[in-house]
């Protein structure tokens, strides 16, 4: 079975993981591995083999910085 890694700032509970699976049904086909990464500040990053879903504060901040820089 393929693996998907969910990075979070703390260890996610089963309820939280189940709610995620509800929102992202394709996660059912994967073996979910949860890793703690404090650098995310808050939120989650879901890393598939071929894509990444960035729901973290850190990711948002990076996007904002990028947009601010591009506008100049």
């Amino acid at each position: 079975m393929k693996k998907v890694v969910i990075y979070s700032t703390y260890e996610l509970s089963h309820q939280e993981i189940d709610k995620l699976v509800e929102k992202i049904p394709s996660l059912k086909n994967y073996q979910i591995v949860n890793q703690v990464d404090k650098s995310l500040i808050a939120g989650l990053v879901i890393k598939f083999a071929d894509r990444i879903i960035d729901l973290s504060i850190k990711g948002r901040l990076n996007n904002i910085s990028k947009k601010l820089y591009e506008e100049t």
Binding site: P25, L44, L55, I57
Partner: protein
């Protein structure tokens, strides 16, 4: 007559003597001398004539020389004027070219300055954004506790639209 002391024979002899002398004088002295005087006069006239011709020739040559001098002077002045005009044209051309090159250099310098200024502005903005991002990251990391993080995760998950 002899009582007066006049000798007729002597007088006749002297007269004959005089005529003979006159004839000899005329033949051998007067004529050559006259001839010599004529010759001298002729030479003198020839000399005067030659001198006159020479003088005329000298005057003519002087006039020619003067004429050539004037012509040379005129040609020289013309050439000098022509050269002055050419130099002036060349100078103006060089000045115009130098001005054009100076303008091009100024335009290029302004363009480089503009580009560098833009680059500097972008760099300044990038660093400012980077710094702001760093400060905000640090502030949020310090500010958000576990409870806040859980709340944020809950809100993220609840607001998440279905993804396939």
């Amino acid at each position: 007559m002899s009582g007066l002391g006049i000798d007729i024979k002597l007088i006749i002899a002297q007269i004959i003597n005089f005529f003979v002398f006159f004839l000899i004088f005329r033949r051998y002295l007067a004529k050559p001398f006259a001839k010599y005087l004529d010759e001298e006069e002729r030479r003198e006239q020839l000399k005067e004539k030659s001198e006159k011709i020479l003088k005329e020739e000298e005057d003519r040559i002087k006039k020619e020389i003067e004429k050539h001098k004037k012509k040379l002077e005129i040609d020289y002045q013309k050439a000098l004027e022509k050269m002055k005009t050419q130099v002036k044209d060349q100078r103006e051309k060089l000045i115009s070219q130098a001005q054009k090159e100076a303008e091009e250099i100024i335009i290029k310098a302004k363009e480089i300055e503009r580009r560098e200024r833009d680059q500097l502005e972008k760099e300044t903005v990038r660093r400012a954004v980077e710094l702001a991002s760093m400060i905000l990251t640090k502030a949020l990391a310090d500010f958000l506790d576990d409870k806040d993080q859980k709340n944020i995760n809950r809100r993220i998950i609840s607001h998440l639209k279905s993804i396939n």
